[in-house]
């Protein structure tokens, strides 16, 4: 059996939640093998991140290099090619960094690549059986992956539940000297933090959230009217921002805001995992969508198959009726 490695994303000296999820995913490949954490970076943050992993990983490979102080995927790729053993299995979180790193890394390692993996059904001979989703999560697929010359596996964030942590006495091994000079034709300049919007959707108990099903900018008013009578805020999914119908600050999801309301009303939102990743705190989720196959119905508490453009005004009327105010 090939060695299993987990690429650790870390910030400010702490490992990301994905570190524990990759450990759980590795156990689904082979429960008898302990995966090796690979941590790249520079300085005190790197040392602190390595130390924090000793409670869960039994072996931690540290790669310290000043050029890796910011994880530029082009440089990280070169470092990993230098240290990984032949035919390794490498697990990487399928986030903005993993999407940047892994496809090219698989080419340079001459390994197979399994992107956005949500399930692992184990190994049979040279083949790893994995589960993926396609068509926006409407259907799942089993994929057989030839791992005889290694594989890079991008794991969907949140798909694997972390198990109890193991030893507490992991060993940090310094592999920095295996990495030569790192040079790339892409250079990190800076990170620009998102501007705060007019409304802070993270502070609201009830969100009236709209997706592609709202169809036109003019229809956003239907959601605003409901939000007004409910005392809620309007949030949205990515297609609404892409179409410039709402500001980016209203977007819920992995590339937008993380919200923790009590009640989340999803109108015309299909339920892509990137959107669901932004909904935390287990709110009561009510979904209205005209497509009965929409993945949002798999995670909602209550669902209605209907046209949101018809249902929204009906619900607004019901609230006004209850409050005893007539329609404007």
């Amino acid at each position: 059996m090939a060695r299993i490695f987990a690429y650790i994303v870390h910030r400010g000296g702490a490992a990301d939640d994905s570190a524990a999820e990759l450990l759980a995913a590795a156990r689904n490949i082979d429960s008898t093998v302990s995966p090796i954490a690979i941590v790249v970076g520079w300085g005190a943050d790197l040392d602190a991140a390595c130390d924090s992993l000793r409670a869960s990983y039994s072996e931690i490979w540290k790669i310290a290099n000043e050029a890796l102080a910011y994880p530029n995927a082009e440089l990280v790729r070169q470092a990993l090619v230098s240290v990984l053993l032949p035919n390794s299995i490498l697990l990487v979180p399928h986030d903005h960094f993993g999407i940047d790193l892994s496809p090219g890394l698989s080419i340079k390692l001459n390994s197979a690549f399994a992107p956005d993996v949500v399930g692992i059904d184990g190994v049979e001979g040279d083949f790893l059986k994995i589960v993926r989703q396609e068509f926006g999560g409407q259907v799942s697929a089993h994929v057989r992956c030839d791992i005889s010359s290694g594989t890079v596996i991008n794991i969907r964030p949140g798909a694997f539940k972390p198990g109890p942590s193991a030893s507490g006495s992991g060993v940090v091994v310094d592999k920095s000297s295996a990495v030569g000079a790192l040079e790339a034709r892409r250079h990190y300049v800076e990170t620009i933090v998102a501007e705060a919007g007019d409304v802070d959707i993270t502070k609201h108990n009830v969100l009236v959230s709209i997706g592609r099903g709202i169809q036109e900018k003019e229809n956003v008013t239907l959601a605003e009217e409901l939000a007004e009578v409910l005392g809620a805020a309007v949030s949205c999914s990515r297609p609404v921002v892409d179409a410039k119908w709402m500001e980016k600050s209203r977007q819920v999801g992995s590339s937008g805001k993380t919200v923790k309301p009590k009640v989340y009303l999803a109108f015309g939102i299909s339920g892509a995992f990137q959107h669901l990743a932004g909904i935390k705190g287990n709110p009561f989720l009510i979904a209205i969508n005209k497509n009965p196959k929409a993945p949002i119905f798999q995670v909602a508490d209550v669902g209605i198959v209907d046209d949101v453009l018809e249902f929204l005004p009906m619900l607004t009327d019901k609230v006004r009726e209850m409050r005893g105010t007539s329609a404007k």
Binding site: G104, V143, C145, K248, F284, F311, K318
Partner: protein, 262 residues
């Protein structure tokens, strides 16, 4: 600037209820609405805007079958200078690496400063752009949501977590995968498509692009789909089946019960 956009025609997931066929080895493709892969549409628009600012040409290429001419025609109507279909039976069953190998061979025959792909297609793999860059030894950046052309390089913004943006300088030639929302793609009507109806769309085969045939097709694929399935649900939503008015009343009761009314 010579710009190449790699695009695909896909079933439109926002317009279709995707069903699995009886054999479980594919989706039901009869009566599906196909369209340009959405991120690819943004990539074409971005290429056209860059060309219009700095000059040059935009070529759009797709690896597929004759049905895919439809989107190439559409991209010519959007304003692309040239469209190429790469099609060959030996590509059947290729995985992402195989498609990237075909595109890499095509790129090596020409001269492109900038290669754009959409960030992902219907499989949600987000892989071909990064693989293509690695095969060509070009620098790569994914999830790009703005591009500024500077002297011999680009200043690009990547979409990272929480709406933040990561700014990078990247040397040319390079490969970028384009995120949706980077621009506002222009509308193409039937009239525009009719106007380019007579423009030639050359079709190239495996030997025309000079790809190593051992690198493509089902035999070379290391990742192979075994079947499609609908996962067993742990919970799933309680679906309300009554009239719209009754459903709305019940939703209101639920919102109130969960402490959602001020």
């Amino acid at each position: 600037m010579e710009i190449l956009v790699c695009a695909r025609r896909v079933p439109d997931t926002s317009e279709n209820e995707i069903e699995i066929n009886a054999a479980g080895n594919d989706i039901e493709r009869d009566e599906l609405v196909y369209s340009m892969n959405e991120p690819d549409n943004y990539a074409v628009e971005e290429a056209l805007q860059i060309r219009d600012r700095v000059g040059g040409n935009v070529t759009v290429v797709t690896v597929g079958g004759e049905d895919d001419e439809e989107i190439l025609r559409r991209e010519l109507a959007m304003g692309a200078n040239r469209a190429v279909l790469i099609s060959d039976d030996v590509f059947s069953g290729s995985d992402g690496r195989g498609i990237a190998a075909v595109l890499a061979a095509f790129v090596r025959q020409g001269h492109y400063d900038l290669i754009l792909t959409g960030v992902q297609a219907e499989e949600g793999a987000a892989q071909v752009g990064g693989m293509l860059a690695a095969l060509l030894d070009y620098p790569f950046a994914s999830l790009v949501n703005s591009i500024v052309v500077e002297d011999g390089k680009l200043r690009v913004s990547r979409e990272i977590e929480s709406g933040n943006r990561e700014i990078n300088e990247i040397e040319l030639p390079c490969v970028l995968s384009i995120q949706t929302g980077i621009n506002e793609p222009r509308y193409v009507g039937m009239r525009g498509i009719r106007q380019v109806a007579s423009l030639p769309i050359p079709t190239l085969g495996a030997s025309d692009v000079g790809v190593d045939q051992a690198a493509v097709g089902g035999k070379a694929a290391r990742a192979k789909r075994v079947d499609y399935f609908i996962p067993a649900l742990s919970k799933g939503a309680l679906i309300l089946h009554r009239s719209r008015e009754e459903n709305a009343a019940q939703v209101l009761e639920l919102v109130a019960a969960k402490g959602g009314l001020k």
